[in-house]
């Protein structure tokens, strides 16, 4: 079978480009670039494609949206608000919703895409965290990811404020209240942001340029860098048959991966269109124009701001005046919830790869990812952090919780104040145990095989179930496990003088942490020769060819 010749027009164009760019070299190296496959690798793509949908729908919105706080009397087609004074921004958002064909669809799609963008990013980040895909050489891409998440929150915050309805105004007021509480610079920051006192006449147009130009520009740059690094470093892969740290196993970029990516983009786009069509979101016409004198009860921010909202709600009423009447007011009941949880989470994310490397002393490149159970402390830390976030997030809707659970609002807060400290600890312990349990299960499968469902009678009358070796690929997947490294000399059994780096208080702490964090908790092959000795327990060998041959 011959693949024939390249059709004239394509050959012509390619030659033209190659003559000028030498693109052939790049194509030769990359057309068949191999991409490994796993459902969890698609999570980041959701975020990527949502971003493209945001760019498309957002650009459409800019054609009609008027970022101005000029006072106008509404004369559009939405009857209940006719004759009412409002900002030009709000009026134009009403116009987009009711007087522009497809305007409502684009608005709703834009908002749904924003939610999907942030959600996709978060879940993608969790995948990367729990599989340890952030390890060397991918720390830089991890940091870019942390930056992207932070910027996405800012982008969402500025976008949410643009329509200037009563709900978005409440969000803006909270933003102002938080900003003005900052020590020393708070008043300055708010006066500069709002061009004077709150709300002023400038903030919508300023947020507009941040929202449609500055932040998306930086996002686009960072996303491109993220993709380039991913391309250059190649994707990580799950442990499995024939997959090693020295290779990539999967489908070629052209044609399979390219087509799949296209399909996935269309799928994301389609789901956003579906949501934009059938799931109403942010019906700003119901809220009315913004006034600082009013608020609609039960207002909720978008989900990604929920944890900050929860933190604010949880806080007891602490405030100190450092210099008495002279000033120095520190509204801790605002400062702590606004800065601490976000600080813990973002800083924690940013330093984790480096902290882990410091503790384990693991300076190797990793291209085969971990199964979460195989690094139980990391997984427990991750789940613990998620629990912390989750408690705050739930508390962000404590009015609804109290409504649904029929408990008093105040009790949800009291319970939340305890849970925010206790739940992460419980989550840590439980997760750690579950991980070890799962490791034991793996060891049992490797050691004894899986139950085949076949019952056999032994010569002396005993009935046993025949165990057979696990399927090759499953076994390979399990055998991808590798002990979490520890620093040389950190193990409790190590004798002699500890190496220099592990002396002194910090060094000793480091050694302790290293010993606790690393090491093999449940060796895979422990299942062997534990005395049962039934012939029928399948002798599962060490599957020579499944083990990465080279390391």
């Amino acid at each position: 079978m011959s693949t024939g010749t390249v059709p004239k027009p394509i050959a012509g164009t390619s030659s033209f480009l190659d003559d000028r760019l030498g693109a052939g070299n790049f194509m030769r190296r990359n057309l068949r670039k191999v991409f490994p496959d796993h459902w969890s690798f698609l999570l980041g793509e959701i975020a990527l494609y949502s971003f493209i949908v945001l760019l498309l729908t957002g650009t459409f919105l800019t054609f009609f949206f008027k970022p101005s706080m000029e006072h106008v009397i509404y004369e559009g087609s939405y009857a209940p608000l006719q004759g009412i004074g409002m900002s030009a921004a709000y009026a134009s958002t009403l116009e987009i919703s009711f007087d522009v064909r497809g305007g409502l669809l684009m608005r709703q799609m834009h908002h749904w895409a924003a939610l999907l963008f942030v959600a996709g990013m978060m879940v993608h980040m969790l995948r990367v965290f729990f599989t340890g895909a952030y390890r060397k050489p991918r720390e830089l891409n991890w940091l870019i990811g942390v930056g992207l998440l932070t910027l996405a929150l800012l982008e969402g915050l500025t976008g949410y404020s643009l329509p200037d309805d009563l709900l978005s105004g409440a969000g803006l007021r909270i933003t102002e209240g938080v900003a003005i509480s900052l020590p020393l610079v708070g008043t300055w920051i708010t006066f500069f942001l709002f061009g004077g006192e709150y709300p002023g006449e400038d903030v919508i147009s300023r947020f507009y340029s941040l929202h449609i130009l500055l932040i998306p520009g930086i996002l686009l740059g960072l996303i491109s860098a993220h993709m380039i690094l991913m391309w250059v470093q190649k994707h990580t892969q799950m442990p499995g048959k024939g997959r090693t740290n020295k290779n990539v196993v999967g489908a070629p970029f052209y044609p399979a991966f390219m087509a799949k990516a296209g399909a996935y983009f269309m799928f994301t786009f389609g789901v956003i269109a579906l949501l934009g069509t059938f799931a109403q979101i942010n019906p700003i016409w119901l809220f009315g124009p913004y006034t600082p004198a009013d608020i609609s009860a039960g207002s909720q921010p978008d989900f990604y701001m929920g944890f900050l909202e929860g933190a604010l709600r949880l806080m007891p009423s602490w405030e100190v005046n450092l210099f008495g009447q002279g000033g120095g007011t520190l509204p801790l009941s605002v400062l702590i919830p606004a800065l601490v949880p976000m600080g813990i989470i973002m800083t924690g994310l940013a330093v984790y790869p480096f902290a882990e490397r410091w503790i384990t002393g693991d300076n190797r490149e990793h291209h085969v990812v971990d199964r979460p159970r195989n690094n139980p402390h990391r997984t427990a830390i991750g789940i613990s952090a998620m629990t912390f976030y989750g408690v705050l997030w739930l508390l962000g809707a404590n009015d609804e919780l109290s409504w649904v659970l029929h408990v008093s609002l105040n009790w949800t807060t009291y319970v939340g104040r305890v849970l925010v400290f206790v739940a992460p600890v419980i989550a840590y312990v439980v997760t750690y145990r579950i991980c070890l349990g799962l490791q034991r299960k793996d060891a049992a499968i490797i050691g004894h095989g899986v139950e085949s469902g076949v019952i056999k009678r032994l010569p002396h009358g005993e009935y046993i179930e025949v165990h057979v070796p696990p399927a090759q690929d499953i076994e390979a997947h399990m055998r991808g496990k590798e002990a979490v490294p520890t620093l040389p000399g950190a193990g409790n059994g190590s004798d002699g003088v500890p190496p220099k780096a592990l002396r002194g208080p910090i060094g000793r702490l480091r050694a302790k942490m290293s010993a606790a964090y690393g090491g093999e908790k449940i060796p895979l092959d422990d299942g062997h020769g534990d005395g049962h000795g039934h012939d029928d327990h399948a002798a599962v060998g060490a599957g020579g060819d499944d083990k990465p041959a080279v390391h």
Binding site: V6, S14, S15, D18, G24, R28, R29, R32, F98, D99, V100, R101, L104, Q108, P137, A170, R173, I180, S181, L182, G186, T187, W188, F192, G196, E197, P199, G200, R206, K234, G242, N245, V249, P252, A259, K260, G262, A263, M266, F269, L274, T277, F278, P292, A293, I295, A297, E309, M315, P316, S317, E319, Q325, G327, G328, T329, P331, V334, N410, T413
Partner: protein, 370 residues
Amino acid sequence: MTDNNHDIEQPGERVPKRVIGTPSHAATGTPLLGAEERTGPAEVPGVDLQDEATAKKGERIAAFCFLLTFLAGIAFIVSYVAFQVGDLDSAATSNLALGSSLTVALLALASGIVVWVRMVMPKYKLVQERHEMASDGETRAYVGETFLQGAAESGITKRPLLRRTLLAAAAPLGLAPLVLLKDLGPHEYADFPKKLRHTVWGEKTKEGKQRRLVVEGTGAPIRAADFNSPGGILSVVPEGYEHDLNELAKSTLILIKFRPEELKSGTNRNWAPDGIVAYSKICTHVGCPAALYEQTTHHILCPCHQSTFDAADGAKVVFGPAARPLPQLPIAVDGEGYLVATADFPVPPGPSFWERGDAEAEAREKGGQS
């Protein structure tokens, strides 16, 4: 690109060695770039061709999907023309028509491609080698040397005058954009934190009279005698500033009528004519309007983070993150029987800020509100 018949990496490039599943190098021979012909991939390891029956079936399903996209695309355009907008119902209809045709078009396209990949394209299990990210020692050494050589050639290391003046040159230029941002802020700086301490309640009207309390929304002044059912509440704004959002953000009030015996020591009775008390509506936490009132408990509740204030007792905080009571406004009844403000809030209303200080203690010293 012509001499491809060897498996040696091109120097300095991360060319993967043969990727299993790609045409052999001889066959790569750049046909895409205009070469004559290439011999087929035939049986390549890692490329598992679909059997013809599956592929045929896949082709049919994918074609059906693509056709669906074609039709839905047309439906989208037709919907745009057919459904006009201009009120709630027609906007909803247009949204439904445009949205569902777009959804069908996109999802069908996605499905078609997925079927194409799964049923028509081969199953792949290609293996490609990885290389350490780090360059080899020799390269690193070369780069290091070149860097030093270049630095020496440029003279930047040898000539401190050059270096220092360059740094000096960059500093003010780097500050220039920051300086440009200055006019983002207000124009008079001297008094800007002070602005937060004052509201128009402390100013007389243009006619030199005390400023009336008017109902938010209608702008009607409030006759004390008419506001007479205990437990009643009103949202109130300053006369003449009904639409000034900056002012409303500090000056909005919540007005509550009490029976005299309900008031506790926290509330200043001198400022409560006929048991009518005016508190700032702007939450002392981060500034939401504390808009909810529970008659039986006299609790004012802020819907944002549920700070709860006891209106009968000087609006002191009984629950939630707000740290200070809602300031009480000194009010009285004027000659015509209307409610007016007699002075500004004794302490700044709204959220806390650094320069605020312990304004409550200050007010106490001056003999104002407790």
